[in-house]
Amino acid sequence: MATFKKSEKPTPAISTASLPDIVFMLLFFFMVVTKMREQEINVKQRIPEATQLQTIEQKSLVSYIYVGEPKKRSMGKEARIQVNDVFTTPEGIPQYVQQERSKLKENERPLITMSLKVDEAVKMGLLTDVKLQLREADARKINYSTRKIKED
């Protein structure tokens, strides 16, 4: 039987030269699929679930309205509307729509889409007021933001 010679060379270290490449790849993936958090959301957001989801075609045309109970206890429990970084009333929405619309190119202005991110516990009364104001502002394309559920 042959005797095993203990090799004198230590086992070569695993090359980690490609590790940065892998991490960079991950980094680029995340940079592409995510977007910067532009504002802090100050209302509770438990988005309801639905099955018939459709994607908004052009992301640049979308403006967001958040509705829900304020996160801060001191603000009370009544559901509030948040646009940009501030709380507003339904009457303040047409102004917000105008402001968002002025950011778009002239030919795209009628196509503005409002994405409503509404907490599940919000009552329809407030939402109806919001919708009525959106009609006033002529921002008629709206999208109720929802999550996907699997049909059983």
Partner: protein, 187 residues
């Protein structure tokens, strides 16, 4: 002089991974995955003052869905569960004049949805979802594709034949959802 045989030492790239990880974690923390999915609807145009609306819709062409502030459903005068709503709406739309109580044809069929100011948004979404599901299933059937394929339909990427089919399906089953002013009982 002898030429130096030693090569230029390589730059140590060991910390490169650390730098990249740092960047990666920074992006993970500061960004969110865009979730721009949802139920799209188009609101009716702004109502001018002293404008009279003449609605010439027959009673049989209207499918009444009422929701009260306790989130209970009344469909065509009968109580119903949300899970049965989709089939009921489908039957109503695709009646084509067979049943005298249901719609004459899909183009004339109108689904009227009336909520209360106290109805939960969650209930409203589940009802809207059921109504849209009924329409989407009928349209998908008309086009000869599955509902998932219909939902994923992108007008920019689709070929011409599919676009024509899509437009035809939309014309055959127009989404007529009429949302009435809510009642004020459960404020």
């Amino acid at each position: 002089m002898a030429i130096d045989k030693k090569k230029i030492p390589e730059v140590n790239a060991g910390s490169m991974a650390d730098i990249a990880f740092l960047l990666l974690i920074f992006f993970l923390v500061t960004t969110t995955i865009a979730s721009d999915k949802g139920l799209t609807i188009t609101l009716p145009p702004k109502r001018e003052k002293d404008q009279k609306i003449e609605a010439k819709v027959k009673e049989r062409d209207v499918f009444n869905v009422l929701v009260n502030f306790k989130n209970q459903l009344l469909v065509e005068g009968k109580r119903m569960n949300v899970k049965d709503l989709k089939e009921a709406v489908k039957r109503f739309i695709d009646n084509n004049g067979k049943d005298p109580d249901l719609s004459v044809n899909p183009e004339k069929a109108v689904v009227s949805l009336k909520t209360d100011r106290g109805t939960n948004y969650k209930t409203y979404i589940s009802i809207l979802d059921a109504i849209k599901a009924a329409y989407h299933e009928l349209r998908a059937k008309h086009m000869g594709i599955t509902v998932d394929e219909y939902l994923a339909f992108d007008a920019k990427k689709a070929n011409k034949a599919m676009k024509v089919k899509y437009d035809n399906a939309r014309k055959a089953y127009p989404l007529n959802i009429s949302e009435a002013e809510p009642t004020q009982i459960g404020k």
